[in-house]
């Protein structure tokens, strides 16, 4: 089993900001828009270095998405940025018709996804965005796990032609993936090979899955941990190869169980290779105020819950 360690914790949104700064220097077609949340999106460096390539839209997210779609003429690559709720649910039809259906090369890049933004409570905690975005034909959906991966993903989505939803968050989390990684859209990342249970995790839950793997190892269980940073298109081959080996699975995400990564995996399992699957995710509920750790504990989105569900999946396999 590979041991993962970290020397610092950083927020994934800062990884986005760092990626945007690189794009500012390397790709003159990249432009950014923001609806009055520059600081929260960590866009300060990009704006400072490329003031003529940034457009403030004010608190008008629907307008921002339409403007992004229009800006694509002549090869511009607009990144439309805000909090994940206001960048997806609030503007769904703008994304659906003007971006996805019209196949515009727009990147919807959103922070504060999931529960872990803290005190603001349910209106700001979207747990449905993965589902909303993955249902749109042609939309790529990416949820990277740490600072380095978010930075790499930001750079990668600019190179990819087509609409993308890139989701990241506010809390500081361990930085454990390599700084120099190449991000491959749609390619699952093998975190740890194992034989007893497959744990498919995305976003902030990948680090929790690694912790869960260590706890399971102490119990003599050899978990395979896979980072599904791209929820759509899903790496079906990687999912199937893993469950054919382990015979059971757990999905883990900071999102509703309904419509999330787990559902995408379930579809694959039901169609191609049925094995028991347990979900770690929010169970049909809105969020609330609290620290990230408190909320992750209450809603069962941590290593302990992943362990519990892994044991249950194994029990079902052996039943």
């Amino acid at each position: 089993m590979k041991k993962y360690t970290f020397t610092e914790k950083k927020d994934t949104r800062s990884g986005f900001g760092a990626g945007m700064q690189v794009l500012g220097q390397t790709n003159p077609n990249v432009v950014a828009l923001c609806a009055d949340l520059i600081g929260s999106l960590k866009l300060d460096a990009f704006i400072k270095e490329n003031p003529e390539r940034f457009f403030q839209t004010g608190i008008a997210e629907a307008n921002m998405v339409g403007i992004a779609a229009g800006l694509t003429i002549g090869g511009k690559i607009p990144f439309a940025t805000t909090f994940a709720n206001f960048g997806t649910g609030r503007v769904y039809d703008q994304i659906r018709q003007s971006v996805a259906y019209s196949n515009k090369n727009v990147k919807i890049a959103c922070s504060h996804a999931g529960l872990t933004l803290g005190e603001d409570g349910a209106t700001h905690q979207i747990l449905e965005d993965i589902g909303l975005m993955k249902m749109l034909p042609g939309m790529t959906v990416i949820n990277p796990c740490d600072f380095n991966q978010t930075k790499a993903a930001t750079i990668a989505v600019a190179e990819y032609e087509g609409p993308v939803y890139l989701r990241f968050g506010r809390p500081v989390v361990p930085v454990f993936t390599p700084a120099d990684q190449k991000f491959e859209i749609g390619k699952a990342w093998m975190v740890n090979e194992g034989t007893d249970v497959s744990i498919f995790a995305t976003g902030h839950l990948v680090w929790e899955a690694i912790q869960a793997g260590e706890i399971l190892a102490e119990k003599g269980i050899n978990a395979e941990i896979i980072n599904i940073h791209t929820i759509k298109p899903l790496d079906v081959e990687a999912v199937l190869a893993s469950v054919k080996k382990t015979g059971c699975a757990v999905s883990a995400e900071e999102h509703q169980v309904n419509g999330g990564l787990g559902d995408s995996i379930a579809q694959v399992l039901v169609q191609h290779h049925y094995v028991p699957l347990e979900y770690v995710g929010v169970n049909d509920s809105f969020g609330e105020s609290g620290t990230p750790a408190q909320l992750m504990e209450k809603y069962g989105l941590n290593a302990a819950s992943i362990v519990e569900k892994a044991l249950k999946a194994i029990e079902r396999k052996n039943a």
Binding site: C34, D36, L37, I38, G39, S40, Q56, T57, G58, I59, A60, E61, A62, N63, N85, F86, R90, G118, E119, D120, G121, A122, T123, H124, E288, S289, G290, T291, Q294, L295, K298
Partner: protein, 269 residues
Amino acid sequence: MNIKELEEKSKAYRKKILKYIYNAKAGHTGGSLSIIDILNVLYNKVLNVSPENFNSPEKDIYIQSKGHCVEALYVVLADKGFFPEDDLLTLCQYQSPYIGHPTKKIKGMEQNTGGLGHGLSICCGSALAAKKDQSDVKVYTVLGDGEMAEGSNWEAFMFAAHYKLDNLCAILDYNKLQITAPNADVMGLEPLDKKLEAFGWAVRHVDGNDVESLVNTFDALPFEAGKPSFIIAHTTKGKGVSYMENVLKWHHGVPTAEQYELALADIDG
């Protein structure tokens, strides 16, 4: 309550806003201080709302569209007896119902808000329902100047005029700042009164941190029969605490112990 008493209330409310934000180590300080005089006059002079009549269809309706300034509303609702003020010591804490935006879990709250640009549409619906029922219910909302950029507001402006909702009053907390920068730099609103008049609203300007002017303005509602009323309340973000006034970072800044004491003294001053 006379003007002097209302002014004392505003001071007391300001201190409480700071107390609970300081205790919670979270909150929207600048905006809560800018709207508190408006809420003071609304709840103590204008609205027919109390814990006793809250479930009655006859009572007036206030929906805070700029939900992030919930601390101001909590403090006023506690003062009006909707819940014990001590509850606010749990503000924004884990498992407290007193979260960082209005929710109907709290008695006195009409509507869950937080995402901007929702409140006015809901007020239009309620004002329309009151008209249809030929009731005397009046409907009020407070909007932020940054929030005004949301297109939904402008859809609602059209609707309210079209349906002649003169039982509806929207108040703009025009503190001229939003999160990132001054309103005029982010997305300019001016000439606002002309725009709203062109949309069919009756518009008045007021010093939104002066309770006497606010009382006089509310007394004149509706400004014109058959038209919705819009109050452009010129306010100061962070009003009452000199080091917070017009300073962007106090949008959701939390004072240190020393700053907190300084702020209380300033309000008394």
